[in-house]
């Protein structure tokens, strides 16, 4: 099992150690997303993350397996949180281990880009003027499309 959905903060130290293990491959790349204290001009107090558990697990597993095949990964891991997340806390962590740096880094980027548009999570920002659903970002769709078209490797 290389996907985790969890309410608890992500222990990036433990995740890294588990990914790398005793005999690391030559190249390990990681990405961590944190809750920002603002969106544009608007202050944000916390983020609510709603998710569709069964589908999220399935999508993230598929994403990881596809990235593993495409980039020849030795290991990979995706961790995503749900629930109410205070500012500065972790939201998502992805890690990839490969024989070469290009593969490890591209796999992290690809997993993040696919996850943004394909994994069933929805963000709602809590701020001084109430809560509002975060709109999906057009640039996320464009970033995803680059992988589909093979423009990025």
């Amino acid at each position: 099992m290389t996907v985790s959905l969890q309410a608890e903060p992500i222990d990036v130290v433990a995740e890294y150690a588990a990914l790398v293990g005793g005999a690391p491959g030559a190249a390990v790349a990681t990405f961590t997303g944190y809750v920002r204290n603002h969106t544009g001009e608007n202050p944000v107090g916390a983020l609510e993350l709603e998710h569709y558990p069964e589908m999220a697990l399935r999508v993230l597993e598929e994403l990881g397996q596809q990235a593993a095949e495409r980039f020849g990964l030795l290991r990979w891991r995706i961790v995503h949180r749900f629930g109410v997340l205070p500012v500065s806390e972790t939201i998502v962590w992805v890690g990839a281990m490969a024989d070469h740096r290009g593969e490890a880094i591209s796999a992290c980027e690809c997993m993040m880009d696919m996850l943004k548009t394909d994994a069933p999570f929805w963000k709602r920002e809590q701020g001084p003027s109430g809560a509002r659903w975060v709109a999906s970002c057009e640039s996320d769709g464009q970033r995803r499309a680059r992988w589909e078209r093979g423009e990025r490797a």
């Binding site: 997303g33 993350l49 709603e50 998710h51 569709y52 069964e54 589908m55 999220a56 399935r58 999508v59 995503h80 939201i91 998502v92 993040m112 996850l115 943004k116 548009t117 394909d118 994994a119 069933p120 999570f121 929805w122 963000k123 709602r124 659903w133 975060v134 709109a135 999906s136 970002c137």
Partner: protein, 92 residues
């Protein structure tokens, strides 16, 4: 003969429920000859429940996931399926 409908995020809020069973017997079939029910049939039947339902279900970019997989409107729906409807995803 029923399916499970799941609603998420702004759609769940707008319609005030997150999950319910839908009897397929009352759904008009898309093609009388083959008596096939697809996602479009389900959406049409739910939209007929009132303007709130109609507006919520006909917003642009609504996503349909059948048994945890994103599908188009022509996907065929069968007894026991789980159909989820939600706005574009914003995780990560």
């Amino acid at each position: 003969m029923s399916i499970t409908i799941k609603l998420f995020a702004s759609l769940r809020e707008a319609l005030g429920q997150s999950e319910f069973q839908l009897e397929l017997g009352a759904i008009p079939v898309e093609n009388e000859a083959s008596s096939v029910i697809n996602v479009a049939s389900i959406k049409a039947a739910l939209s007929a429940r009132g303007s709130q339902w109609h507006d919520a279900l006909n917003q642009p970019n609504l996503v349909h996931a059948l048994n945890h997989k994103v599908v188009y409107l022509d996907a065929i729906v069968a007894d026991g399926d789980e159909l989820a409807l939600f706005p574009p995803m914003t995780g990560g």
